[in-house]
Subunit: 444 residues, 2 copies
C-alpha cells in the first residue's frame, strides 16, 4: 500500500444518502482522506420525515450526527458549512463564510429543494416536507391549529382543521394517510371538547392517480385506503393559488385551510447553478453513465443532484436507494481509479419501491420485475425494510436504556449519547465490507 | 358520592411539577373536573435540561405531552394558552388571546423565570437554562462555536471556546461539570483538526462556595471534582457586564467568550404581578402555611410561584420536590374541602438534595438530617432517583422498540408514539393511589 503516506483527498459536498454512502465506504481506506461538508451537522433520514411531522417520531429519532458517525474513522473529517460554489477544474469548493476546500476528487451531492413550479403563494404559505426543519415546523403548525381550535372553535368554520396536501407522490400520500390516522385515532382521544370529526384532509394532484409512479393496482389500492380513512382525493386538479387562509384549485374550488403541505416536487439545490457544470431537467447536473461530466475528470455528481441516465434511455428516479448506490459506486470507482483500473458505468440495482399509507396498509413493488404486495403483507415488508435501514437509530434505544452504565463506565465519548449507536446504521451491503478492500470484480 | 353530577371545576395555571402534580392527583376523581392551562403543550423535566444543552439527552427525552398524559382521564382537559392575568375573587384567569376560564378552585403555579439582577447585558447576551427552549438554544450555540472554530481556528484567540457559567448553584455546577466532560471526552474525539484542549470552562459565583446550599464538605468535594476536570472556579466574584464577545468580572478581569450561560437565579414568572395577590421576595406571591392568601378562599398558589413559609420561620427553597409536594397537597386539600374537612398546613417531607457534577461524581444529602454521600455512591443514588423520576420517559424506549407492533395492533392513539408510555411517569407516591379515594388521614 504505497499510497499510505500521501492519501488522496476526497471532498464531499452533502451528507444525504449519496454523500454519506460515499464517505462511509471510504472511511478506513488508507488510500484516501475525506472531508465531508454539509450545512447541518447531522444526516437526516428523509423517508420518515412525515412521521416527525405527525408526531410519531421525535426529530432526534431521524437525525444522526456526522461527527458521531465518523468518530472512529480518523481519515474522515466533517465541516459544518454551506457550500455556495465549486470550481470543477481546480476541484475546489467555497463556503458561505469564505473557506475553500480543495480535493484530488470532488463529490457533488448537494441534493434537492422543493419545487413550487411558480405556484402563486406556494413558497410563502405552504409547508414543504423535505428537511428535518420542515418537518419540525409542520409538526408545530399542525399541533397549533388543533390547540387554537380547541380554545376558539369558531375558527373551525374558517377551515382551521382543513389540511390540504399538494402532490400525491410518496411524500404526499404517506403524509395524507398518516395525518388522517393521527386525526381520527390520536386527536379524537386527546381533545376532549373539540369537534375533531370536523377535520378534513385533502390530497390534490394534477395527475390521474395516487402514487403515479407505482402500478395501476397500487393506484387503486392507495386511493381506497385513503378514502376509507376519510381523505378527500382530488385528481386531475392542480393548485392555482395559495393564500394565508385558503387554496384555489384549477377547477375553481376554493378550500379554506390554515395548513397547506407541499409535496409537489423537487428540483436541484441552488448550488447546482454555481458549480460550472451543465445543468438540465429540474436544474440538475447532467452526467454521463459514470456519474462524471466530460472534461472534468475526478468530479462526481451523485444522487438527486444529478440527472443520471438509465440504460433504457431515460433518467434514474430521485430515490434514496438510487442516491445511496451512487455514493457507494463513486467510492468504489475512486478507489479503483487510484489503482488505475479502468472506468465502468454506474448500474442501479433496483430493489423496488414502497409506500406506507396507513396502519396495515402499504404497497411494495419488489425488484426490477415489480412483484406487487398490498395490505398487511406489504406493511410488514415496509416495517422490515425501515427497521433495517433505521437499525442504527433503533440501537440508540439500547444506548439510551444503558446510558447510566455507559456514563459510569466512561464509554467512548459521544456528542449525542442517545444517538451513539446510530453510528452503526447499515448503509446497504457496504457494511459487510467494512475495512476490506473492495475490488471492482467483487461488486459488479 | 353525591357530587358526581356537579363536579367542582379546578383551573390550574402551569404544568410544571406543582401544577402537574396537582392535576395528576385530581385525575380520575369524580368530585372534580380539571382544566390545566400551560403556554406549552408539554411538561418539561427541568432537572435534566443541562443534559439537553450538552447533547446527552434529546429534547423530546425530557418533554412529555400533557394531552398524552391525560388521554385516559376524561375529567382533565388541557388548554395551550398563556395566562396573562387572574382575578382571585371571581376565580377567573384570562389568556393572551382573550379567553377566560373560571373555576370553583384556582391553582396558580406559573413557576419562575431567570433573574438577571439588572446585570448589564445579561438579558441580551447570556443563555439562561430554565426552559426546554433555553436548553435547545444553548445546545445549538455550543455546537455552533465548535463548528465555527473548526473551520476558522483564528477565532479561538477571540475566546470562541471559552464558556462562562454564571452562578454555582445546582444548575451552574451541573452544567459546568457536564460541559467540561463533553469537551474533554466527546469533542476531543469528534473534532479531528481542532485544538479542543484550548477550550475553557469558567464558573463564577459571588458567594464563597460551589453549591452553596449544600454542606461544607460538599462545597469542597464539588470544587475538587470541577478542578480535576479543568473548570476554572472564580468565587467571591460577580459579573459586572456581559457583552457580545466578553464578560467583565467585579475584580476587573475581562474574559473573552462567545457563550455565557446564566444560572444566576430565578424570580417569579411575570404573571405574579397580575393576579391581584400580595407579592414579596423575588416577586413571588406570599402565601400562608396552607398555600392560600387571606380573603381569597379557594385560591392556591404553589411551587416556585409562591413564597412558602417553612416551620423554622424561613421560606421553603425553590426545589422540584417542594413544588411536586405542594401540588399533591393542594389536590388532597381541595378534595377534603369539598367534603368540608378542616384545613391543615402544608408540610414538606424533605427527602434531601442532590447534584451531579460528573461521571462517578455526585453529592447526595439525604433526608432532613442530611446524611451525606459523595462520589460513586452518590452518583449511583443520583442515577437511581433520576431513573425513577424518568421511569416514564425510559418506558418510552420500550414503546419505541415496540412501535412496529403497536402500529400493527392499533394501540390506543398517541400523539407522540415514542412518548406514549411517558404517561406512566411516576409523580411520587401519587401513583400508587391511582383511581382510589385518598383521605386526609392516609396522607398526613
Amino acid at each position: 500500500m504505497n499510497n499510505r503516506n500521501s492519501p488522496k483527498h476526497v471532498v464531499i459536498v452533502g451528507g444525504g444518502f449519496a454523500g454519506l454512502g460515499c464517505a462511509r465506504h471510504l472511511s478506513s481506506k488508507n488510500e484516501v482522506r475525506v472531508t465531508l461538508i454539509d450545512k447541518n451537522n447531522y444526516h437526516q433520514f428523509q423517508p420518515l420525515l412525515y412521521q416527525v411531522a405527525t408526531s410519531l417520531l421525535a426529530p432526534d429519532d431521524v437525525a444522526v450526527s456526522f461527527r458521531n458517525l465518523f468518530r472512529k474513522h480518523p481519515n474522515v473529517d466533517v465541516k459544518e458549512a454551506e457550500v455556495v460554489s465549486a470550481d470543477p477544474v481546480a476541484k475546489t469548493v467555497t463556503t458561505s463564510s469564505g473557506e475553500v476546500y480543495q480535493g484530488d476528487y470532488l463529490i457533488l451531492a448537494a441534493g434537492s429543494q422543493p419545487n413550487f413550479f411558480r405556484t402563486s403563494g406556494a413558497e410563502e404559505y405552504s409547508f414543504p416536507l423535505y428537511s428535518l426543519n420542515d418537518a419540525e415546523r409542520l409538526r408545530s403548525r399542525i399541533l397549533k391549529v388543533f390547540e387554537d381550535a380547541d380554545r376558539n372553535p369558531a375558527i373551525i368554520d374558517q377551515g382551521a382543521l382543513n389540511f390540504v396536501i399538494v402532490g400525491a407522490g410518496p411524500t404526499g400520500t404517506e403524509m395524507a394517510g398518516t395525518l388522517a390516522e393521527m386525526i381520527h385515532h390520536t386527536m379524537s382521544a386527546e381533545y376532549k371538547d373539540l369537534k375533531v370529526t370536523a377535520a378534513r384532509v385533502y390530497l390534490i394532484d394534477h395527475g390521474h392517480a395516487v402514487l403515479g409512479s407505482f402500478s395501476e393496482r397500487a393506484h387503486e389500492y392507495a386511493a381506497r385506503v385513503l378514502k376509507r380513512d376519510g381523505v378527500q382525493i382530488r385528481l386531475g386538479t392542480s393548485v392555482q393559488e395559495i393564500g394565508p387562509g385558503h387554496v384555489v384549485l384549477s377547477d375553481g374550488t376554493k378550500i379554506m385551510t390554515h395548513v397547506v403541505i407541499w409535496g409537489g416536487g423537487l428540483k436541484a439545490a441552488p448550488l447546482a447553478a454555481n458549480v460550472g457544470l451543465p445543468v438540465g431537467r429540474s436544474g440538475r447536473v447532467d452526467v454521463r453513465p459514470d456519474l462524471t461530466v466530460e472534461d472534468f475528470p475526478g468530479v462526481y455528481v451523485l444522487g438527486d443532484f444529478a440527472n443520471i441516465p438509465s440504460p433504457d434511455g431515460g433518467l434514474h428516479p430521485q430515490l434514496g436507494s438510487v442516491a445511496l448506490q451512487t455514493g457507494t459506486w463513486a467510492a468504489q470507482h475512486i478507489l479503483s481509479e487510484i489503482k488505475s483500473i479502468a472506468h465502468w458505468p454506474f448500474h442501479y440495482h433496483d430493489k423496488g419501491i414502497m409506500a406506507m399509507i396507513g396502519r396495515n396498509a402499504a404497497i411494495a413493488e419488489i425488484g426490477e420485475h415489480r412483484h406487487e404486495l398490498y395490505g398487511p403483507g406489504a406493511f410488514a415488508a415496509w416495517l422490515g425494510v425501515h427497521a433495517y435501514l433505521m437499525s442504527g437509530m433503533r440501537h440508540r434505544i439500547d444506548a439510551y436504556v444503558e446510558w447510566a452504565w455507559d456514563y459510569i463506565l466512561r464509554s467512548p465519548g459521544s456528542q449525542v449519547l442517545d444517538r451513539s449507536d446510530a453510528a452503526r446504521i447499515d448503509w446497504g451491503e457496504d457494511d459487510h465490507n467494512e475495512g476490506q478492500e473492495t475490488s471492482q470484480e467483487e461488486k459488479t
